[in-house]
């Protein structure tokens, strides 16, 4: 029997389970063993639910034996610690919520459970998802599995690291603007941020409600498609989910890319390091070989979005964090870290009488302009490809003393987030230092099938996704 079961993708693990080469218990045990051995170095988890995971694995094996067929039956998954899990502590990596045991499951968790997953534990994030490094977590910084002196990115840093380090088969993250794609890029894994409203936010500790989008972080594009199939769809507990029926996301993966129009905007290469630029341009060449047509387009410079995003996000944060008063659950406000306090203050200011029109209202208007800018681009091209990050993973400590660090790191993913568009990070190379580099495919609203198709074709033509860090 394969001793490295934890390295498998969902697709591979499902095959092995179906062919009875190993059991869910074997698979889960392998992941838990890996967690025990690498966590001291990586710190991807806030909570590991070892006992429950083994129980669930045994149950899954019984069902497998009975021939039950579910999309994730017996597959170990890690979930970002800002998703409510009934009976399992949920902290959003803030001490304010330390010891908080939700009485209910987030819709994403409900759907994963119905699909048969084994919950391994809850992964680390920047406290309240405020950041792009996990350095604002009250539970320590997660380290990049490719080089533990470097950051994993964030806020879903724990989720991306848990996948890259093979501590889990797949992970659930959430993105407000970059929190799935950015850490996936730095950790060399696949991260899919769905269209806003495609996946339910119910039970996800709210960051910026008009932007938050849960999504999968996986070892392969096919896995991301499979996970999205489980997650996507209208939820009666989230009024902002779309009634549009989900596509069959696996069906289109193998479609040829002949004549697909890919937009490339110079604005997304400004300020990008030479190494990143080089690898993304190589990826574009590879895609040309696969038949796509590269078309030069003009988009607003992503730097404009930083101000817009900062105002809207801080405003919503200031309101969303108001419920953490320590009266009904959790601890008092004294437990908020300095990043959360800064955001509450800035957001409160932006919404104050006399400033609302100047800041919030104006930001909303510019947001509409950004949406229109993308709409215009999608009249010319099918998808847009750009670097996911301007840089490779920065060293530990990079975010400290720099309150706008996150916004700078997320500059290239913020515009599409603001516009509610789907995007996927695909690994496409490494720097000389051995740190991963990726590119993102951005598509129109609800075009997940299409961007998954592009990502899959690229992945199948390259080997980057098969490389593993040594820990």
């Amino acid at each position: 029997m394969n001793i490295d079961l934890n390295k498998l993708t969902i697709t591979e693990a499902k095959k092995g389970l179906a062919e009875k080469k190993f059991s869910s218990l074997d698979l889960t045990t392998a992941c838990l063993k890996r967690i025990n051995s690498v966590e001291p170095k990586v710190n991807a988890f806030v909570t590991v639910t070892e006992e429950e995971a083994l129980e669930q694995a045994k149950k899954a094996d019984q069902q497998l034996a009975k021939g039950v067929d579910l999309p994730l039956l017996g597959i170990p998954i890690s979930i970002k610690d800002n998703f409510c899990t009934a009976g399992v502590q949920t902290t959003a990596s803030s001490r304010v919520l330390e010891g908080f045991i939700p009485p209910y499951d987030a819709t994403v968790v409900v759907r994963l459970k119905e699909a048969g997953m084994v919950l391994l534990g809850k992964t680390n994030l920047d406290a309240w998802a405020h950041g792009s490094s996990t350095e604002t977590s009250d539970y320590g910084t997660t380290k990049n599995p490719w080089n533990i002196k470097h950051l994993p990115g964030g806020s879903s840093g724990g989720a991306a690291a848990s996948v890259a380090a093979d501590e889990t088969i797949a992970a659930i993250g959430s993105e407000t603007a970059g929190s799935i794609r950015q850490p996936s890029d730095w950790c060399g894994v696949v991260g899919l941020k769905p269209t806003y409203g495609r996946v339910s936010r119910y039970g996800v500790v709210a960051m910026a409600s008009s932007l938050d989008s849960p999504g999968p972080i996986t070892k392969s594009v096919a896995d991301a498609a499979l996970m999205l199939q489980v997650l996507a769809g209208q939820d009666r507990f989230d009024a902002t989910t779309s009634p549009k029926l989900p596509d069959d996301y696996l069906k289109n993966l193998t479609k040829k890319l002949t004549n697909l129009k890919v937009g490339v905007a110079d604005e997304y290469f400004d300020g990008v390091t030479e190494t990143v630029r080089e690898k993304v341009l190589e990826a574009l060449k590879q895609l040309e070989k696969l038949g796509v047509k590269l078309i030069k387009i003009k988009l607003f410079s992503p730097e404009y979005t930083i101000a817009i995003y900062t105002i809207l996000q801080r405003a919503e944060v200031s309101s969303n964090l108001a419920r953490y008063d320590g009266i009904r659950f959790g601890h008092s406000r004294d437990y908020f870290g300095s990043e959360a306090k800064r955001r509450i203050m800035l957001g409160t200011y932006a919404l104050s009488a006399g400033y609302y029109d100047q800041y919030y209202n104006k930001a909303q208007k510019v947001r509409t302009v950004i949406v229109e800018d993308f709409n215009k681009a999608f009249n010319e091209v099918d998808v847009i490809i750009a670097p996911t990050n301007p840089w490779t993973a920065l060293p530990l400590g990079a975010s400290q003393g720099n309150p706008m660090y996150g916004e700078m790191a997320d500059a290239l993913v913020e515009p599409s987030s603001i516009a509610g568009l789907p995007g996927i990070n695909v690994p496409c190379g490494f720097s000389k230092e051995g740190l991963p580099i990726g590119f993102q495919v951005i598509g129109p609203q609800f075009s997940e099938s299409l961007i998954l198709n592009v990502a899959y074709q690229f992945e199948q033509a390259t080997e980057f996704h098969n490389l593993k860090p040594t820990l």
Binding site: N82, F83, C84, T90, A92, L97, F100, P102, P103, Y104, A106, R201, Y202, G203, V204, V205, A206, A208, S209, S210, R236, F237, D238, A239, T240, A315, E316, S318, S319, L321, A322, R323, Y324, D325, I327, R328, F329, T348, L351, S352, A353, Y356, Y360
Partner: protein, 448 residues
């Protein structure tokens, strides 16, 4: 008096929907064990999201339509941010600049129009109780009320007396009861009243209307009053208090006051300087609402007969006096009960006036007795309807002589006045006259 009171009113009405405004919890919270009608949404748990109650929104629009409001085709919810322990999320979901209903009006008995500025939808807060438990002073919170749908109805400052305010309130209460959207039970807190009161010096200008456009430069709000009587007393008190201040050449402070029943006075609660900045912004968790015309038409078609219409019809159709009709339309249940009894009474020769008298005099509780029982009671003691032509003619003649004003009004073309005369004949017979016959006789006598 040298001053004209300028009074506006904010009324909160709790809707009696089955479930709460933004979650599936039962909205029937009164008298229930604390914190048993709760869920992650109305407790403001991390990650919980509001999903608006369609029925509640339709009922809010229905109230607006009944108050002759316009229904803008676009509306949205907003967050009103403030901290209070009874507010689970740290903000209340309400409506700020684009409410469901705007620009309505209600006409008072004296013909005066009270303009309705807006009718909007929001959610109720939890209930705080300050108690001593085991010798310790504590505040207890019951979240059963958290998220109950509330409709807020705001008037322009068009009232000039507490009588006008009370008349408006009674009509509003009756209206929401007839619409079947609220019990409007003051004692249970279904209806909460907040008058704002200021005084306007009466100028010698002949153009009173021009005066109206210049509102006083201060406003005193009295919060959360739970009875019509107290509203009257609070307004009376404020008029007196503010008059004394103005007489000294000073301006009353802009502030929020509360009615204190024990002291029979309003007491200062919060000054202008302490006013909240609610930092309203559009609720990102709820998509905006866009109405199609047919949807509004559909809600309109569900509006039952309203009290004013019912009052007129009861007088016309059943020959009731003003007082009788007003008594019967007090609640929809009462009106329905009466009409059922009328139907039942037809076969037993019991007429509507007798039924009306029986209901009023015996103070019948419509929840405890059936219309059939009332009819049998009346039929039991009635020897029968007076339909003797000669006797009725004699009584009609008497009534015509006793009511010269009504007679001349009728002859001048006010045909409705005949109801007054029919009523008078009815009273003479203790309601035993055949109303239709009386009408015919009166008409022959009065028509040349």
């Amino acid at each position: 008096m040298k001053y004209t009171p300028v009074i506006g009113l904010e009324v909160h009405v709790e809707l009696k929907t089955l479930s709460k405004m933004f979650c599936g919890c039962s909205a029937d919270y009164f008298g229930k064990k604390p914190n048993t009608h709760t869920c992650p949404v109305c407790l403001g748990m991390p990650g919980a999201l509001p999903v608006p109650n369609r029925k509640a929104i339709e009922w809010c629009v229905m109230i607006g339509l009944a108050l002759n409001c316009e229904i803008p085709s676009f509306s949205k919810f907003d967050r009103k941010n403030y901290f209070y322990p009874d507010l689970a999320k740290g903000y209340q979901i309400s409506q700020y600049d684009q409410p469901f209903c705007i620009n309505g009006e209600i006409v008072l008995e004296n013909g005066k129009k009270i303009r309705i500025r807006r009718v909007h939808m929001e959610e109720d807060t939890a209930k705080l109780t300050h108690a001593i438990v085991d010798g310790e002073k504590v505040s207890l919170i019951d979240f059963n009320r958290s998220g109950i749908p509330l409709v807020e109805i705001v008037t322009e400052p068009d009232f000039e007396s507490e009588m006008e305010v009370i008349e408006y309130l009674k009509r509003l209460q009756q209206m929401v009861r007839h619409l079947g959207v609220s019990n409007a039970d003051m004692e249970k807190g279904d209806m909460r009243l907040e008058p704002n009161i200021s005084l306007q010096e009466i100028q010698n200008s002949k153009n009173q209307d021009a005066n109206k456009f210049q509102l006083p430069n201060y406003k005193v709000e009295v919060k959360n009053i739970n009875s019509f009587r107290f509203v009257g007393k609070a307004i009376e008190f404020e008029i007196k208090r503010q008059t004394e201040i103005l007489d000294k050449g000073e301006t009353p402070a802009q502030e929020t006051r509360g009615w204190n029943e024990g002291q029979n006075a309003t007491l200062s609660q919060r000054s202008k300087e302490e006013a909240h900045d609610y930092r309203y912004f559009p609720e990102p968790d709820i998509p905006p609402i866009r109405w199609e015309e047919f949807q509004i038409a559909n809600i309109k078609s569900q509006i039952p007969e309203l009290p004013d219409q019912k009052l007129e019809r009861f007088q016309k159709e059943y020959g009731l006096t003003d007082a009788q009709a007003i008594f019967l339309i007090e609640s929809r249940e009462m009106a329905v009960f009466f009409e059922k009894a009328v139907e039942e009474g037809k076969s037993k020769e019991v007429n509507p006036v007798q039924i009306a008298n029986q209901i009023a005099n015996r103070k019948i509780d419509v929840g405890k007795i059936s219309p059939e029982e009332v009819i049998s009671e009346i039929a039991g003691k009635t020897t029968g309807i007076i339909s003797d032509q000669a006797e009725l003619e004699k009584l009609a003649q008497e009534v015509i002589e006793e009511n010269p004003q009504a007679v001349s009004d009728f002859k001048a073309g006010k045909e409705k006045v005949i109801q007054v005369l029919i009523g008078a004949v009815m009273r003479k017979t203790a309601g035993k006259a055949d109303a239709n016959k009386v009408k015919e006789i009166l008409k022959t006598f009065l028509t040349p």
